[in-house]
Protein backbone atom coordinates (compact mmCIF):
# COMPACT_ATOMS: atom_id res chain seq x y z
CA UNK A 1 0.00 0.00 0.00
CA UNK A 2 1.20 3.50 -0.67
CA UNK A 3 0.73 5.87 2.20
CA UNK A 4 0.18 9.61 2.17
CA UNK A 5 3.24 9.95 4.38
CA UNK A 6 6.15 7.90 5.61
CA UNK A 7 5.43 9.01 9.16
CA UNK A 8 2.60 10.83 10.92
CA UNK A 9 3.48 12.57 14.18
CA UNK A 10 0.49 13.16 16.43
CA UNK A 11 0.93 16.24 18.58
CA UNK A 12 2.20 19.64 17.43
CA UNK A 13 3.72 20.75 20.72
CA UNK A 14 7.42 21.05 21.45
CA UNK A 15 7.99 17.28 21.65
CA UNK A 16 6.05 16.32 18.52
CA UNK A 17 7.36 19.21 16.46
CA UNK A 18 11.00 18.55 17.41
CA UNK A 19 10.59 14.92 16.36
CA UNK A 20 8.76 15.89 13.16
CA UNK A 21 11.52 18.34 12.30
CA UNK A 22 14.18 15.70 12.96
CA UNK A 23 12.32 13.18 10.80
CA UNK A 24 11.99 15.70 7.97
CA UNK A 25 15.77 16.22 8.17
CA UNK A 26 16.27 12.51 7.53
CA UNK A 27 14.29 12.85 4.29
CA UNK A 28 11.05 11.29 5.51
CA UNK A 29 7.72 12.58 4.24
CA UNK A 30 6.18 13.76 7.49
CA UNK A 31 2.70 14.88 8.53
CA UNK A 32 2.32 16.68 11.87
CA UNK A 33 -1.25 16.27 13.11
CA UNK A 34 -2.34 18.76 15.73
CA UNK A 35 -5.37 19.95 17.59
CA UNK A 36 -6.47 23.55 17.32
CA UNK A 37 -5.43 26.53 19.43
CA UNK A 38 -7.72 25.49 22.26
CA UNK A 39 -5.60 22.40 22.90
CA UNK A 40 -4.39 21.97 26.47
CA UNK A 41 -0.78 22.35 25.52
CA UNK A 42 2.00 22.12 28.03
CA UNK A 43 4.23 23.69 25.39
CA UNK A 44 2.71 27.14 25.54
CA UNK A 45 2.87 27.34 29.32
CA UNK A 46 6.32 26.18 30.28
CA UNK A 47 9.18 27.89 32.06
CA UNK A 48 11.83 27.86 29.27
CA UNK A 49 14.58 26.22 31.27
CA UNK A 50 17.24 23.96 29.84
CA UNK A 51 17.74 22.01 33.01
CA UNK A 52 20.06 19.16 33.95
CA UNK A 53 20.75 19.33 37.69
CA UNK A 54 17.49 17.78 38.93
CA UNK A 55 17.18 15.02 36.36
CA UNK A 56 17.78 11.30 36.55
CA UNK A 57 17.48 10.17 40.14
CA UNK A 58 16.50 6.52 39.73
CA UNK A 59 17.37 6.50 36.05
CA UNK A 60 20.97 7.52 35.32
CA UNK A 61 20.27 7.21 31.58
CA UNK A 62 17.94 10.20 31.93
CA UNK A 63 20.68 12.30 33.50
CA UNK A 64 23.01 11.47 30.60
CA UNK A 65 20.20 12.06 28.09
CA UNK A 66 19.48 15.52 29.54
CA UNK A 67 23.13 16.42 29.79
CA UNK A 68 23.63 15.40 26.18
CA UNK A 69 20.70 17.61 25.24
CA UNK A 70 22.29 20.58 26.99
CA UNK A 71 25.53 19.85 25.09
CA UNK A 72 23.61 19.81 21.79
CA UNK A 73 21.83 23.09 22.45
CA UNK A 74 24.48 25.55 21.11
CA UNK A 75 24.64 23.85 17.70
CA UNK A 76 20.87 23.40 17.68
CA UNK A 77 20.36 27.11 18.31
CA UNK A 78 22.66 27.88 15.38
CA UNK A 79 20.93 25.36 13.13
CA UNK A 80 17.45 26.81 13.77
CA UNK A 81 18.75 30.36 13.32
CA UNK A 82 20.41 29.46 10.00
CA UNK A 83 17.29 27.73 8.70
CA UNK A 84 14.65 30.17 9.92
CA UNK A 85 16.30 33.39 11.07
CA UNK A 86 14.66 32.89 14.47
CA UNK A 87 16.84 33.58 17.51
CA UNK A 88 15.93 31.16 20.30
CA UNK A 89 17.50 33.47 22.94
CA UNK A 90 19.52 30.56 24.26
CA UNK A 91 22.05 31.12 27.02
CA UNK A 92 23.87 28.62 29.18
CA UNK A 93 25.49 30.45 32.09
CA UNK A 94 24.64 27.66 34.54
CA UNK A 95 21.60 27.59 36.78
CA UNK A 96 20.78 27.94 40.46
CA UNK A 97 18.35 26.18 42.74
CA UNK A 98 17.98 28.71 45.56
CA UNK A 99 17.30 27.49 49.09
CA UNK A 100 15.55 29.44 51.86
CA UNK A 101 16.53 27.17 54.76
CA UNK A 102 19.33 24.85 55.83
CA UNK A 103 16.90 21.97 55.37
CA UNK A 104 16.41 22.94 51.74
CA UNK A 105 20.19 23.11 51.22
CA UNK A 106 20.59 19.67 52.78
CA UNK A 107 17.84 18.27 50.56
CA UNK A 108 19.51 19.69 47.45
CA UNK A 109 22.93 18.37 48.44
CA UNK A 110 21.47 14.97 49.19
CA UNK A 111 19.55 14.75 45.91
CA UNK A 112 22.57 15.74 43.84
CA UNK A 113 24.81 13.31 45.72
CA UNK A 114 22.33 10.48 45.16
CA UNK A 115 22.03 11.27 41.46
CA UNK A 116 25.79 11.30 41.09
CA UNK A 117 26.59 8.03 42.83
CA UNK A 118 24.43 6.07 40.42
CA UNK A 119 26.39 3.44 38.52
CA UNK A 120 27.00 3.97 34.84
CA UNK A 121 26.50 7.70 34.53
CA UNK A 122 28.89 10.55 33.98
CA UNK A 123 29.00 12.57 37.21
CA UNK A 124 27.47 16.02 36.87
CA UNK A 125 29.53 19.10 37.60
CA UNK A 126 27.84 21.01 40.40
CA UNK A 127 28.52 23.02 43.56
CA UNK A 128 26.63 23.63 46.78
CA UNK A 129 27.19 27.30 47.55
CA UNK A 130 26.59 29.40 50.67
CA UNK A 131 24.92 32.79 50.74
CA UNK A 132 28.03 34.87 50.00
CA UNK A 133 29.13 32.76 47.05
CA UNK A 134 25.64 32.93 45.57
CA UNK A 135 25.52 36.70 46.07
CA UNK A 136 28.69 37.14 44.04
CA UNK A 137 26.81 35.81 41.02
CA UNK A 138 23.28 36.94 41.95
CA UNK A 139 23.82 40.28 43.71
CA UNK A 140 20.09 40.91 44.27
CA UNK A 141 19.38 37.92 46.51
CA UNK A 142 17.92 38.60 49.94
CA UNK A 143 19.28 37.67 53.36
CA UNK A 144 16.89 34.71 53.60
CA UNK A 145 18.71 32.87 50.80
CA UNK A 146 20.79 30.40 52.80
CA UNK A 147 22.50 28.81 49.84
CA UNK A 148 21.99 27.14 46.50
CA UNK A 149 23.03 24.38 44.22
CA UNK A 150 24.68 25.55 41.02
CA UNK A 151 25.20 23.48 37.88
CA UNK A 152 27.14 25.03 34.97
CA UNK A 153 25.26 22.91 32.40
CA UNK A 154 21.90 24.58 33.00
CA UNK A 155 20.53 27.32 30.78
CA UNK A 156 17.44 28.93 29.34
CA UNK A 157 15.84 30.02 26.09
CA UNK A 158 12.69 31.73 24.87
CA UNK A 159 10.33 28.78 24.55
CA UNK A 160 7.75 30.62 22.47
CA UNK A 161 10.47 31.26 19.91
CA UNK A 162 11.53 27.62 20.20
CA UNK A 163 7.95 26.60 19.40
CA UNK A 164 7.84 29.03 16.46
CA UNK A 165 11.34 28.07 15.30
CA UNK A 166 10.60 24.34 15.26
CA UNK A 167 7.36 24.82 13.36
CA UNK A 168 9.05 27.13 10.86
CA UNK A 169 12.01 24.79 10.40
CA UNK A 170 9.68 21.83 9.89
CA UNK A 171 7.75 23.74 7.21
CA UNK A 172 11.00 24.86 5.53
CA UNK A 173 12.00 21.23 5.13
CA UNK A 174 8.72 20.41 3.40
CA UNK A 175 6.87 18.95 6.37
CA UNK A 176 3.09 19.17 6.37
CA UNK A 177 1.51 20.68 9.48
CA UNK A 178 -2.20 20.00 9.89
CA UNK A 179 -4.11 22.01 12.49
CA UNK A 180 -7.66 21.04 13.55
CA UNK A 181 -6.63 17.38 13.14
CA UNK A 182 -7.45 15.93 16.54
CA UNK A 183 -6.96 12.20 16.04
CA UNK A 184 -10.16 10.38 17.02
CA UNK A 185 -8.96 6.89 16.19
CA UNK A 186 -5.77 5.21 15.18
CA UNK A 187 -5.79 1.84 13.45
CA UNK A 188 -3.12 -0.45 12.05
CA UNK A 189 -3.83 -1.09 8.41
CA UNK A 190 -1.95 -2.76 5.54
CA UNK A 191 1.54 -2.31 6.85
CA UNK A 192 0.87 1.16 8.16
CA UNK A 193 -1.53 3.22 10.20
CA UNK A 194 -4.60 5.32 9.56
CA UNK A 195 -5.28 8.30 11.78
CA UNK A 196 -8.90 9.39 11.57
CA UNK A 197 -9.92 12.94 12.32
CA UNK A 198 -13.13 14.93 11.98
CA UNK A 199 -11.78 16.41 8.76
CA UNK A 200 -10.51 13.24 7.13
CA UNK A 201 -8.02 10.41 7.48
CA UNK A 202 -4.26 10.38 7.09
CA UNK A 203 -2.41 7.17 6.18
CA UNK A 204 1.23 6.76 7.08
CA UNK A 205 3.76 3.96 7.25
CA UNK A 206 4.66 4.78 10.83
CA UNK A 207 3.08 6.85 13.54
CA UNK A 208 4.58 8.70 16.50
CA UNK A 209 2.31 9.54 19.42
CA UNK A 210 3.62 12.71 21.04
CA UNK A 211 0.28 14.01 22.21
CA UNK A 212 1.16 14.90 25.78
CA UNK A 213 -1.55 13.96 28.22
CA UNK A 214 -3.71 12.62 25.37
CA UNK A 215 -1.08 9.98 24.59
CA UNK A 216 -2.60 7.42 26.90
CA UNK A 217 -5.86 7.42 24.94
CA UNK A 218 -4.06 7.19 21.60
CA UNK A 219 -1.45 4.68 22.74
CA UNK A 220 -4.16 2.24 23.84
CA UNK A 221 -5.33 2.08 20.22
CA UNK A 222 -2.01 0.61 19.08
CA UNK A 223 -1.04 -1.48 22.10
CA UNK A 224 1.08 1.08 23.95
CA UNK A 225 0.45 1.79 27.62
CA UNK A 226 1.67 5.39 27.88
CA UNK A 227 1.22 6.06 31.58
CA UNK A 228 1.21 9.81 31.83
CA UNK A 229 -0.82 12.09 34.06
CA UNK A 230 -1.47 15.82 34.12
CA UNK A 231 0.39 17.67 36.87
CA UNK A 232 -0.68 21.24 37.37
CA UNK A 233 1.70 24.18 37.54
CA UNK A 234 1.20 27.93 37.73
CA UNK A 235 3.31 30.85 36.55
CA UNK A 236 3.40 34.55 37.41
CA UNK A 237 4.94 37.06 35.00
CA UNK A 238 6.09 40.55 35.97
CA UNK A 239 6.32 43.70 33.93
CA UNK A 240 9.50 44.01 31.88
CA UNK A 241 12.53 44.98 33.91
CA UNK A 242 16.08 46.05 33.20
CA UNK A 243 18.41 43.02 33.22
CA UNK A 244 19.39 42.02 36.75
CA UNK A 245 19.18 38.22 36.84
CA UNK A 246 21.90 36.85 34.62
CA UNK A 247 21.47 33.21 35.61
CA UNK A 248 18.25 31.19 35.59
CA UNK A 249 17.03 29.72 38.85
CA UNK A 250 14.59 26.84 38.88
CA UNK A 251 11.73 29.02 40.15
CA UNK A 252 12.65 32.58 39.13
CA UNK A 253 14.10 33.59 35.79
CA UNK A 254 14.32 36.76 33.74
CA UNK A 255 13.30 36.34 30.11
CA UNK A 256 15.43 37.86 27.36
CA UNK A 257 12.76 40.53 26.87
CA UNK A 258 12.88 41.57 30.52
CA UNK A 259 9.85 39.94 32.14
CA UNK A 260 10.53 37.94 35.28
CA UNK A 261 8.80 34.58 35.43
CA UNK A 262 7.96 32.99 38.77
CA UNK A 263 6.97 29.34 38.84
CA UNK A 264 7.04 27.22 41.94
CA UNK A 265 3.95 25.04 42.08
CA UNK A 266 3.27 21.34 41.73
CA UNK A 267 -0.36 20.32 42.16
CA UNK A 268 -1.66 16.80 41.58
CA UNK A 269 -5.21 15.86 40.59
CA UNK A 270 -6.37 19.36 39.78
CA UNK A 271 -7.50 19.45 36.14
CA UNK A 272 -8.44 23.14 36.22
CA UNK A 273 -6.70 25.77 34.13
CA UNK A 274 -7.95 28.55 36.41
CA UNK A 275 -5.26 30.19 38.51
CA UNK A 276 -5.65 30.23 42.30
CA UNK A 277 -4.49 33.07 44.50
CA UNK A 278 -3.63 30.70 47.36
CA UNK A 279 -0.83 29.03 45.42
CA UNK A 280 0.16 32.19 43.54
CA UNK A 281 0.57 34.06 46.82
CA UNK A 282 2.96 31.41 48.13
CA UNK A 283 4.94 31.53 44.88
CA UNK A 284 5.16 35.30 45.00
CA UNK A 285 6.20 35.22 48.65
CA UNK A 286 9.06 32.81 48.01
CA UNK A 287 10.21 34.91 45.05
CA UNK A 288 10.10 38.05 47.21
CA UNK A 289 12.23 36.37 49.86
CA UNK A 290 14.73 35.28 47.21
CA UNK A 291 14.82 38.71 45.51
CA UNK A 292 13.45 41.44 47.84
CA UNK A 293 13.74 44.00 45.04
CA UNK A 294 10.81 42.26 43.32
CA UNK A 295 8.47 43.14 46.19
CA UNK A 296 6.74 46.10 44.55
CA UNK A 297 6.95 44.95 40.95
CA UNK A 298 3.69 44.61 39.04
CA UNK A 299 2.45 41.20 37.94
CA UNK A 300 1.04 41.44 34.43
CA UNK A 301 0.09 37.85 33.62
CA UNK A 302 -0.60 34.54 35.31
CA UNK A 303 -1.52 31.15 33.98
CA UNK A 304 -2.08 27.58 35.02
CA UNK A 305 -1.21 24.61 32.86
CA UNK A 306 -0.89 20.86 33.01
CA UNK A 307 2.54 19.26 32.80
CA UNK A 308 2.89 15.87 31.17
CA UNK A 309 4.21 13.63 33.94
CA UNK A 310 5.18 9.98 33.94
CA UNK A 311 5.21 7.85 37.11
CA UNK A 312 8.96 8.28 37.59
CA UNK A 313 9.25 11.71 35.97
CA UNK A 314 11.48 10.31 33.21
CA UNK A 315 10.58 10.25 29.51
CA UNK A 316 8.80 7.41 27.75
CA UNK A 317 10.16 6.40 24.34
CA UNK A 318 8.95 3.09 22.96
CA UNK A 319 7.67 1.17 19.98
CA UNK A 320 4.58 -1.02 20.12
CA UNK A 321 5.27 -4.78 20.25
CA UNK A 322 1.79 -5.49 19.00
CA UNK A 323 1.95 -2.97 16.16
CA UNK A 324 5.56 -2.28 15.15
CA UNK A 325 5.90 1.09 13.51
CA UNK A 326 3.80 2.79 16.22
CA UNK A 327 5.99 4.84 18.57
CA UNK A 328 5.36 6.91 21.64
CA UNK A 329 7.37 9.88 22.93
CA UNK A 330 6.31 11.60 26.11
CA UNK A 331 8.15 13.71 28.58
CA UNK A 332 7.93 16.69 30.84
CA UNK A 333 11.02 18.43 29.47
CA UNK A 334 10.19 19.38 25.91
CA UNK A 335 12.43 22.45 26.00
CA UNK A 336 15.56 20.85 27.45
CA UNK A 337 15.24 17.79 25.25
CA UNK A 338 14.29 19.51 21.97
CA UNK A 339 17.71 18.94 20.33
CA UNK A 340 17.77 15.34 21.56
CA UNK A 341 14.36 14.69 20.05
CA UNK A 342 15.29 16.27 16.74
CA UNK A 343 18.82 14.92 16.39
CA UNK A 344 18.89 11.62 18.28
CA UNK A 345 15.38 10.29 18.75
CA UNK A 346 13.98 11.10 15.28
CA UNK A 347 16.65 9.08 13.39
CA UNK A 348 16.10 6.17 15.79
CA UNK A 349 12.37 6.28 14.99
CA UNK A 350 13.10 6.48 11.26
CA UNK A 351 15.29 3.37 11.49
CA UNK A 352 13.09 1.57 14.10
CA UNK A 353 15.91 1.35 16.62
CA UNK A 354 14.22 3.02 19.61
CA UNK A 355 13.80 -0.17 21.61
CA UNK A 356 17.34 -1.30 20.82
CA UNK A 357 19.10 1.98 21.54
CA UNK A 358 16.95 3.46 24.34
CA UNK A 359 15.79 0.42 26.33
CA UNK A 360 15.74 2.23 29.67
CA UNK A 361 13.00 4.59 28.48
CA UNK A 362 10.50 1.88 27.51
CA UNK A 363 7.02 1.56 28.96
CA UNK A 364 7.90 -1.90 30.28
CA UNK A 365 9.49 -0.31 33.35
CA UNK A 366 6.00 0.43 34.68
CA UNK A 367 4.72 -3.10 34.05
CA UNK A 368 4.11 -4.72 37.44
CA UNK A 369 4.46 -8.20 35.95
CA UNK A 370 7.95 -7.46 34.64
CA UNK A 371 10.75 -8.88 36.77
CA UNK A 372 13.90 -6.80 36.58
Amino acid sequence: MTHDYDIAVIGGGLVGTAIAYGLAKTGQRVALLDEDDRARRASVANFSLIWVQTKGLGMPEYSDWSRGAADLWPDFRNEIAALTGIDLAFSQPGGFHLCLSEAEVDARASQLARINVQAGMSPLPYEILGHNAVREMLPDIGPEVVGASYCPLDGQCNSMRLFWGLHTAFARLGGHYRSDHRVESLTASEGGFVASTAVGSVAAGKVVIAAGNDSRRLGAMVGIDAQVRPQRGQVLVTERMKPFLHYPTITVRQADEGSVMLGDAIEEENPSLVVGTDVLAKMADRARRMFPGLSKVNIVRTWAAQRVMTKDGCPIYDESREHPGAFVANCHSGVTLAPRHAQTLAPLIASSRVKAELPAFGTGRFDVSTVH
Binding site: D140, E239, R240, M241, K242, G258, G293, L294, V297, N298
Partner: protein, 98 residues
Protein backbone atom coordinates in the same frame (compact mmCIF):
# COMPACT_ATOMS: atom_id res chain seq x y z
CA UNK B 1 -0.83 73.22 26.06
CA UNK B 2 -3.08 72.68 29.07
CA UNK B 3 -4.54 75.29 31.36
CA UNK B 4 -6.65 74.98 34.46
CA UNK B 5 -10.43 75.04 34.21
CA UNK B 6 -10.95 77.37 37.17
CA UNK B 7 -8.88 79.51 39.40
CA UNK B 8 -10.87 78.42 42.42
CA UNK B 9 -8.68 79.03 45.46
CA UNK B 10 -7.19 75.79 46.67
CA UNK B 11 -4.30 74.78 48.84
CA UNK B 12 -1.07 74.58 46.90
CA UNK B 13 1.66 71.96 47.18
CA UNK B 14 5.11 71.66 45.68
CA UNK B 15 6.48 68.52 44.08
CA UNK B 16 9.63 67.89 42.10
CA UNK B 17 9.60 66.28 38.67
CA UNK B 18 13.02 65.12 37.48
CA UNK B 19 14.55 67.57 39.94
CA UNK B 20 12.45 70.55 38.88
CA UNK B 21 10.10 72.05 41.47
CA UNK B 22 6.55 72.57 40.26
CA UNK B 23 3.49 73.99 41.98
CA UNK B 24 0.30 72.00 42.07
CA UNK B 25 -3.12 72.03 43.67
CA UNK B 26 -3.62 69.67 46.57
CA UNK B 27 -6.34 67.74 44.70
CA UNK B 28 -4.28 67.26 41.52
CA UNK B 29 -3.19 63.89 40.33
CA UNK B 30 0.51 63.64 39.48
CA UNK B 31 -0.39 63.51 35.78
CA UNK B 32 -2.62 66.61 36.01
CA UNK B 33 0.06 68.53 37.91
CA UNK B 34 2.62 67.64 35.24
CA UNK B 35 0.27 68.75 32.46
CA UNK B 36 -0.46 72.03 34.25
CA UNK B 37 3.28 72.63 34.51
CA UNK B 38 3.71 71.99 30.78
CA UNK B 39 5.31 68.56 31.12
CA UNK B 40 3.71 66.18 28.64
CA UNK B 41 6.24 63.36 28.51
CA UNK B 42 6.49 61.13 31.56
CA UNK B 43 8.19 57.98 30.36
CA UNK B 44 9.74 56.10 27.45
CA UNK B 45 8.44 52.73 26.26
CA UNK B 46 10.06 49.48 27.37
CA UNK B 47 10.55 48.06 23.88
CA UNK B 48 11.82 50.92 21.71
CA UNK B 49 12.27 53.90 24.03
CA UNK B 50 9.59 56.11 22.47
CA UNK B 51 8.28 59.06 24.47
CA UNK B 52 4.88 58.67 26.12
CA UNK B 53 2.62 60.90 28.19
CA UNK B 54 -0.66 60.60 30.10
CA UNK B 55 -3.49 59.73 27.72
CA UNK B 56 -6.71 58.42 29.26
CA UNK B 57 -6.40 60.18 32.66
CA UNK B 58 -8.68 57.55 34.19
CA UNK B 59 -6.43 54.63 35.08
CA UNK B 60 -6.84 52.52 31.99
CA UNK B 61 -4.06 53.16 29.47
CA UNK B 62 -0.97 52.91 31.70
CA UNK B 63 0.83 55.45 29.55
CA UNK B 64 1.34 57.83 32.51
CA UNK B 65 3.71 55.56 34.43
CA UNK B 66 6.23 57.44 36.56
CA UNK B 67 8.54 56.77 39.48
CA UNK B 68 6.96 58.20 42.65
CA UNK B 69 9.12 58.50 45.76
CA UNK B 70 11.42 55.81 44.40
CA UNK B 71 8.76 53.30 43.39
CA UNK B 72 8.47 52.64 39.66
CA UNK B 73 5.49 52.02 37.38
CA UNK B 74 3.04 54.17 39.39
CA UNK B 75 0.07 55.47 37.42
CA UNK B 76 0.43 59.25 37.47
CA UNK B 77 -3.26 59.83 36.82
CA UNK B 78 -4.30 57.67 39.78
CA UNK B 79 -1.83 59.07 42.30
CA UNK B 80 -2.71 62.21 44.27
CA UNK B 81 0.13 64.74 44.71
CA UNK B 82 1.54 65.32 48.20
CA UNK B 83 3.73 68.20 49.29
CA UNK B 84 7.37 67.23 48.84
CA UNK B 85 6.64 64.29 46.55
CA UNK B 86 9.56 63.29 44.33
CA UNK B 87 8.51 62.26 40.83
CA UNK B 88 10.86 60.94 38.16
CA UNK B 89 10.09 60.05 34.59
CA UNK B 90 10.54 56.36 33.88
CA UNK B 91 13.06 55.52 31.20
CA UNK B 92 12.24 52.19 29.59
CA UNK B 93 12.04 49.12 31.75
CA UNK B 94 11.73 49.24 35.49
CA UNK B 95 14.78 48.57 37.66
CA UNK B 96 14.87 45.98 40.39
CA UNK B 97 14.44 47.52 43.84
CA UNK B 98 12.63 50.64 42.71
Amino acid sequence: MFRRFTNRPEQGVTITVDGREISAKATDSVAAAMFAAGITTCRTTVVDARARGPYCMMGVCFDCLVIVDGIGSRQGCMTRVRDGMVVESQKGRREIGR
